[in-house]
Subunit: 398 residues, 2 copies
């Protein structure tokens, strides 16, 4: 049984803050500071260039990748960290397109995270070979998977509503028509149980700054099915993915049969120190336990909001199995109400046009925070505090 009191003690949360935004940027683990000062003083400062050998900097992409992999059901040796999620979208979809060279349709949905769609747009423009990106409504994705489709690129959990796609069903359908599947697990990894190995997805990608708590701009990850590791084309073929990176050959040869071939350029080793500290907390966590607690807290939150906060309408699926680990409500004064909440140190966020979003992160959130957040929201609504002028002004990140 996972000890969530213990996980919670490992975070350094500001006094008095109720942080319901771990789905966007996770909080800092207490171990982040010693891990980082250790890296600075005992690795970079003292080892300097030798750190690539003596501190294993070069293979942290893989050791950290395997630790993320465990949380998404990936077998060892099939996941690496590095780059940004946007780059990994590009890399995975480009590789997928090459696996079905005779097809010209990429299927996603209009609930996908925008940067995923942007990156594919850029890729299509770069290829300049008649590709089309289709973005039907999420509920029409299954019907849209036809023999025209080369690559299906889907984000499992919708960043606004928390609606969850049926990963297994989509993969089966895609494979049955000969399409390749890329899953974006940005809102899944560390949020819900995922079994990329059992589902036999072709690619899975995601980020580590949300539920995994690696810090702002922490590295992305990519998983590739073992059956593809011999043949998958990196396209973004940098020296870090070369068969012999230190031979400085003139020609690129992808690392044969290994996930290293999806590595690109030199990753930030400092960011790996933070991610490593964050993953230490995850090492003791069972994803089943986590999901059970996420559901219990989410159900409590929904029940309390619906009974005490008039005007808010649940836009997340009511079925907990069809949700990720955040809960969203539509509210016509949602922007100002969220600013009022934040002013009271209850941190959620807002997504246009009217969605108030709350991350339910059992590693550091319990019933006390859930009830406290609803108490504050109820008071804001009752006293119409959201009408205050200072809550109307739009800031850069909402």
């Amino acid at each position: 049984m996972t000890d969530f009191q213990a996980t919670r003690r490992q975070f350094d949360l500001p006094e008095g803050m109720i942080y319901l935004n771990g789905n966007s940027l996770g909080p800092m683990p207490k171990a982040a500071v010693p891990a980082m000062t250790g890296f600075l003083n005992d690795e970079w400062r003292t080892e300097l260039i030798k750190g690539w050998n003596t501190k294993n900097w070069f293979m942290q992409t893989n050791t950290l990748g395997d630790r993320v992999g465990r949380l998404i059901g990936a077998p060892e040796g099939t996941t690496v960290v590095g780059d940004t999620l946007s780059i990994k979208v590009f890399q995975a979809v480009a590789a997928g397109m090459a696996m079905v060279p005779d097809r010209r349709v990429i299927l996603s949905d209009n609930g996908n995270f925008p940067t995923d769609l942007y990156m594919v747009e850029g890729l299509i423009k770069l290829k300049d070979a008649g590709y089309t990106l289709r973005t039907p409504d999420p509920e029409d994705v299954m019907a849209g998977i036809t023999e025209e489709v080369g690559v299906v690129m889907i984000t499992e959990v919708d960043y606004r509503t928390g609606r969850r796609h049926d990963m297994r069903a989509i993969i089966e359908r895609a494979h049955s028509v000969g399409a390749v599947v890329v899953w974006d697990l940005a809102h899944s990894a560390g949020a819900v149980p995922v079994d990329v190995g059992g589902c036999d997805t072709d690619f899975a990608i995601g980020c580590t700054y949300k539920y995994l708590n690696g810090g702002p701009g922490a590295p992305a990850f990519i998983h590739v099915a073992p059956r593809l590791l011999d043949t998958v084309e990196p396209f973004l073929s940098g020296w870090y993915g070369h068969e012999a990176p230190f031979a400085f050959d003139k020609d690129y040869r992808p690392m044969p049969g290994r996930i290293e071939r999806m590595r690109i350029g030199t990753p930030s080793i400092a960011s790996f120190a933070l991610l490593s500290a964050a993953l230490d907390i995850w090492d003791g966590v069972d994803m089943g336990d986590l999901h059970a607690k996420s559901i219990a807290l989410s159900e409590l939150f929904i029940r309390e909001v619906e009974s005490r906060c008039p005007g808010l309408t649940l836009v997340s699926p009511r079925d907990p199995q069809a949700r990720g680990s955040h809960v969203s409500f539509a509210y016509e004064n949602g922007y100002a109400a969220m600013q009022a909440l934040i002013a009271e140190n209850v941190i959620g966020d807002f997504r246009a046009p009217d969605v108030m979003r709350f991350g339910i992160t059992p590693l550091f959130i319990g019933e006390v925070e859930i009830m406290g957040a609803v108490d504050t929201l109820e008071a804001i609504l009752k006293e119409e505090r959201w009408k205050d002028e200072r809550f109307q002004k739009r800031s850069l990140v909402t």
Copy 2:
């Protein structure tokens, strides 16, 4: 006049080490630790998601970019940091190709850093439209710039020999035949005076972990000529380069007229904290002073090695204006001799087949270190200490 005693005091170099590898990985500035703990404790820990607003995380790509830009002669607002150099190679060359859509030849040289060639190889494979990468000898680049050539992609300073291309002449020649130029300044930024603005290059890219001392895997940079900022195609079109990144539009619209359009995904903010501390040291440095000191130290080093270290042959250009800020010697027992030097705490590196490489970095290296390094090398050769068995074994990074 730049005070190099002052710059040197700002680095935390291990006691007794002579570090002649700042051309590969710069040493840690003393300010790195407080800068990083400040970021962790006063930004991530306390601000959490609000840091994107309150701590200006979102625009550090640009504030840091401008500070790097000053060192390469880039006007304000034309340089951003982020991603890896491999990604920036891809992005710049892809954009360049689109500017001359009727040409199918990319010209580089066989002295270019391998990952630059690898990334273009991958790009060509992805485009699958009959492109060719030509890599003549460096001295044949000028003659190779013909009307067939669409993009000229050159690294100014050769990573092995330190040979320096004539940036202005190559740009003039390329522009005269209608080609676009991408300069890789990995071994130039912070090493030699560069004037990307005055030379009117189309693109310049580079990394910040060598002479700029941003730490292992510190972010890359990209500069785009002001005249191109309205039209340049990002291709790697992530949300960070969108006109309205927080509007979460479904379609990509590049930030009009601004360098932000070359940003891709969410960068590591922790790595920015380190880079910022490293650039503080550069703020007081005049590149002319730096270059003068680099030349004086390099000339001293060459003179001393040539008079005291038989068997070593200079492979760097003898003309200091034709060199970057590292000096290389060929030596048939170079690998073992370098390991013997490293065992004596004199750190240079080795590049196959026989090149011993020494970075001359005036920010923290002076005559004492130069003479100390040559003393040690002389003794190793005289006593044939390089024959020791433990110096024969090849390690991952040499």
